[in-house]
Amino acid sequence: MPDDLPSARQWPDLMRRAQNGDQRAYGLVLRALVPAVRACARRQLFDEALIEDVVQDTLLSIHRLRHTYDPGRPLLPWVVAIASTRAIDALRKQGRSRDKEVCEDMMLAEMVDSRAVAAMERSGTGRELGHLLALLPERQRMVVEMVKLREMSLDDAANESRLSVPAIKSLLHRAYAKLRDVGRQSDD
């Protein structure tokens, strides 16, 4: 309801009445000041959410410092000084939190729990390996799992799979060839 807002000429008198405890005058002048405070914050900030935070902080500061306003002087310079300070505070706070912000998952995990990095690395490698093995035909995958992941000897793998050792070697050879092709394609 901007039409109901008092004009700038009335602000000092409304603030004087607010200093005397007039709740209605205080509400009116605070509502009237919001656009001015927002405009002031917008000169220093670009983030709309941050601008609205500065408006709120400024309103709270006006409330806390209202005894320092001299009704004989214009209100706007007093408000602008408070709003500018709060905007600078917001920029500093944003800068500090940006310095501390952790963008990478690995760094975040390390800050929370140093052991998590190793777990994440293992899990990442595991995911990649699982993805590669899924590309292999079932028998090749089974042989790779037995010989490379479970570290079985060729004889043991042959016994468990009921295949001959040359068949195991042949399957391994074809699996490696296939994985090499996949690797080359992903590099390209």
């Binding site: 405890g21 007039d22 609205e52 709270l60 209202r66 005894h67 001299d70 408070i82």
Partner: protein, 209 residues
């Protein structure tokens, strides 16, 4: 866009009559005698030597006291003014002339000394005196600034620190020979700079608005 209506309603509902702060010059004139009185009392704890008021350079000591206290008051006034949002924090123009005159008196004092350069370690008494006189004044300055809070606490406290330093110089001039060495003078300045630093560190949180 956030609707600030709820916050405004809550603030307006909470509003009570407040006592407006007096102009900075009035507050400075009210607080300065208290600060000087406490500073003087603190210095009675240390050994004091009386200035020779019968000597030919007594006018230098008198002018030094007047200029130091005037500069201290001006800086303290600027500090209290800087605490209020939207106010100018500049020192008055005449303060520059007063500062130049104060430095001129220091040169007169140094040239009157038989050993103008002095020796390292000289001026320990003056250094301690300025610190002892300044510490209670620092507390008063922080209390005075807390009444309004300051949007730029470092600036306000720096001005307060400068004011305290000059007021301590004013008290020192009552019990210091006119003649002094460069080392002695640098000791005074170092003590004032330390006071300024302590004031900023001690009051930064207390006076931030």
């Amino acid at each position: 866009m956030i609707d600030h209506e709820r916050l405004i309603e809550s603030l307006a509902g909470d509003v009570r009559p407040v006592q407006r702060v007096a102009p900075a010059w009035m507050r400075a004139l009210g607080w300065t005698p208290i600060a000087l009185g406490l500073g003087y009392l603190a210095t009675t704890l240390s050994h004091r030597e009386a200035t020779d008021w019968s000597g030919p350079l007594a006018w230098v000591a008198a002018a030094n006291i007047i200029l130091s206290l005037t500069l201290g008051l001006a800086a303290f006034m600027a500090s209290l003014s800087s605490g209020v949002a939207g106010r100018e924090t500049r020192m008055p123009g005449w303060a520059i002339f007063a500062l130049v005159a104060w430095l001129g008196l220091a040169i007169v004092g140094i040239s009157a000394s038989r050993h103008p350069l002095g020796a390292i370690g000289q001026g320990g008494y003056c250094f301690t005196f300025v610190l002892i006189a300044g510490l209670p004044m620092m507390a008063i300055a922080i209390i005075a600034l807390r009444r309004t809070g300051s949007l730029r606490p470092v600036r306000s406290l720096t001005l307060s620190g400068i004011g305290i330093g000059f007021m301590a110089f004013g008290l020192l001039a009552f019990c210091h020979p006119v003649a002094m060495s460069v080392v002695d003078f640098l000791g005074h300045l170092t003590a004032a700079i330390i006071l300024c630093g302590i004031t900023i560190m001690a009051g930064n949180r207390a006076v931030a608005a």
